[in-house]
């Protein structure tokens, strides 16, 4: 959430247990007006439980949740789901199979038949589903069902929208367009949203800010770049994308040293004490290679990815993963020089 934003949803120190097991542990999260926040994390980290707590489907053991300054949940008190003004979209879309697309969208609208129908039709037009009004959900594709589910949820003008793995049942090639369309719809309605996923690509494409969860707590919250370039934990660094873990020694405020690779320069001071043994996380695109018959590394495998190419380089007794543009193509067995490009260092203690 940006500093100047007005808070819409406020989650303060909530703990939730389910079947005798603590799932959320004093978790706090603020969501601004018009903001789309993504909860990211491994399965079992408690992401979906946060949504259920916000929706009022689970009681709190500790803490409180409020929406636009109205208290929704606290210990022993819980506003009913139907009185919360919160929309939910599930992974399986949960469209009512016995109602047509239009009836699904109009289901929650509190207005007379004709007014409701007009509103429903307008929403369907917005999600590009106007042509399917009289169709039943079972006749729609996953992406189409998702569009209807969004229209239905927005129809009651919720103060916040919750989305649980909304894109995992949608064909891969439709996903990007769908994400852009839904994002546009949310922004158009000024509806803040919390969405849950385990895919970082979805998180990057769909959310304004990301919150990474581990063991029932939020480890780090911020824009995608900050989580990617300055991860606060090793597991967050790993789940943001591939990388190489190097054993290094701190050689200065902006330098570390790695055996076989030499000095690695940083672009910002890392404030670590001199000579400390640490682990450094280096992304594949932060390493460059160049063929050289006297080079320290040797290409042992290469994978063509379309936009880029991955090389696996043997350096001493370990493998380095390096990513280059796809135009360069060197055969397996080529000796190479390796250089780590100056970047903001990601350092963790060795333990």
């Amino acid at each position: 959430m940006k500093p100047d934003q007005i808070t819409a949803l406020k989650i303060e120190g909530i703990s939730v247990s389910y079947q005798e097991k603590q799932v959320l542990d004093q978790l706090s999260l603020m969501i601004g007006q018009n903001e789309i926040v993504c909860l990211l994390g491994q399965s079992g980290s408690g992401k979906t439980t946060v949504l259920k707590a916000i929706a009022g489907l689970l009681p709190l053991d500790e803490g409180e949740i409020s929406l636009n300054s109205r208290q929704l949940s606290s210990v022993g008190q819980c506003v009913k789901p139907e009185q919360r003004d919160i929309g939910i979209i599930f992974q399986d879309f949960a469209l009512f199979p016995h109602l047509t697309v239009l009836d699904n969208v109009c289901f929650g609208i509190k207005a007379s038949g004709e007014v409701a129908q007009e509103k429903g039709k307008a929403l369907l037009a917005m999600v590009k589903m106007a042509a399917f009004e009289t169709v039943y959900p079972s006749e729609l594709s996953g992406g189409q069902q998702q569009r209807v589910a969004i229209a239905r949820a927005l129809a009651t003008e919720p103060k916040v929208l919750l989305l649980d793995e909304p894109f995992s049942n949608v064909d891969h090639h439709l996903r990007e367009q769908l994400m852009l369309d839904i994002r546009a719809a949310l922004k158009q309605h000024n509806t803040p949203a919390v969405f849950v996923t385990h895919s970082k690509e979805e998180a990057f494409a769909f959310a304004d800010t990301l919150a990474f969860m581990e063991e029932g707590q939020i480890v780090q919250q911020g824009v995608a770049e900050s989580l990617y370039f300055q991860p606060s934990s090793a597991s967050l660094a790993d789940s943001m994308g591939e990388g190489n873990w190097l054993d290094v020694t701190v050689r200065g405020d902006m330098a570390t040293e790695c055996a076989n690779l030499g000095i690695i320069s940083a672009t910002l001071p890392h404030n670590q004490e001199l000579s400390k043994k640490m682990r450094q996380f280096v992304r594949p695109n932060q390493i460059s290679i160049e063929p050289n018959p006297q080079g320290v590394g040797e290409i042992v495998e290469q994978v063509f990815n379309g936009e880029s190419r991955s090389y696996f380089i043997r350096l001493g007794d370990r493998l380095l993963r390096v990513s280059t543009t796809s135009f360069e193509h060197w055969p397996i067995g080529t000796k190479v020089n390796i250089a780590v490009l100056p970047h903001q260092a990601i350092l963790f203690d060795r333990s």
Binding site: P81, I88, A94, F107, G108, K110
Partner: protein, 539 residues
Amino acid sequence: MSNNKWLIAAWTISIILILPAVFLILQSTGSDTPLFEHLWATVLSEYIVNTIQLVVLVLLFSAFFALPSAWLIAMCDFPGRRYFQWLLMLPLAMPAYVVAYIYTDLFDFAGPIQRTMRALFQSDVAVGQHWFFEIRNVPGAALMLALVLYPYLYLIARTAFMEQGSHLFQVSRSLGQKPWQSFRRIAMPLCRPAIVVGLMFIGAEALGDFATVHYFAVNTLTTAVYDSWLGHGSLSAAAKISILMLIGVMGILAIERWQRGRQRFYHKYTGQNALFKLTGWRARSAVIYCFSLVFSGFILPVVILLSYAIDYASLNTDGQLGRVLLQTVWLALLAALITTALAVLFSFTTRVSSSASGALPTKLSSMSYMMPSTVLAIAVLIPMTLFENNFNDFWVAMGYQAPGLFLSGTTFALVFAFVVRFQAVANGTIEASFLAVSPSLDMAAKSLGKTDSQMLRLIHLPLIKKSVFTAMLLVFIECMKELPAALLLRPFNFDTLATFVYQYVSDEQLEQAAFAAILIVLAGLYPVMRLTQMGEKSI
């Protein structure tokens, strides 16, 4: 090798098994007999009204028992839910006539309830002088039947509620609908087809019930069939009344098929349901509701049966029960063996035959299952007596002594009726197990030079032997419990476990056959357990 011999065998046998139904229809289209005309003019309309009343009331009571309990188990969490989930199925193992006997005994003028009430209110009155509700009437019979039949609806409705998943309900609430509105607008419309299917199943059972209504002296179409044949010896009148029942069953099945077809459009939710946690008085009411069903449909009758058995243990020592048991086991085993062997023949023929008609013998032989067993017994008698009469005439014409009722008067009729009735049970089990065997195994066997018979013996039978055993056990138990057909077809002085118990029920002496009744209940637990497991798997 040609698979013609399998086809010929399967077709011949399945046609023999469908003969009773064909003869029943032919017989009923014949001219009216005096007895039927008399019945039609006098009491039959009353019997029809009673039958309809009975079926409707059984459906209402069953819905009242089954739907709330199914909803509670599917959607809510309350103490004991995990146990009630299967405990609620147990009443299905109780024969309705045994339950009817026990409650009559309890609520009778001389029964413990009325005795206690008289003692409490210190009234000292003779029979008929103070009002107490009557149980031996149509509503009473319907209540008894519903008490043991509701589990069918409970199981199917519970599955349907669970398959809906909790997401639809949660979405509906997030769209501003209160729980009750969500139930009415979402849960009920989605489950309606399943509920109708369950109700129709119960309706067919209620329509075919003989023992409970006979014991309560309520006249319905089944008792009319029974009396026409055993009382008046008119097979033709019995056949005509049977056809009326068959029309009722057909109507019920048509509704069932139609609603079953409608379910296809609905998706099945496979995730885990979030249960609605009940606390306080809500949790207590849920427990009381479920427990009273299990208690009155199973626990109380079993306890009373046990106490009868202990009190009258000395009366059961004359070896009569042993003889009956031996006869029953022999008979049921024979029927189970034949039925299962035929089921293997039919399913195997379906598998090896290249044409679509290869599947017909299985379907044809399963059809008689929809006949109520009273009707089936009459239907079996028609071709049999016809054959016997002609054969006797022929034999006498040849100068020999007539052999008499060598089919209908012997256990042959009983075994044949059991095979016709329960062929569908065996077919279902065996067919499913054949489907689980990959067709590529057949091709592998063929490519290695095996004939059809070798393939059956070396590949299929070893792979399906567990299902063969299950099919035999299921048919065995059904034969042991089967009552109306056994009553109508048993040879003179021959009893099965069910007729033995029922004889004592109708003589108001169940106490003396309590042990046999317990055996029937115990045997009935196995199919109930299987049904419960299948219900759990489909979720």
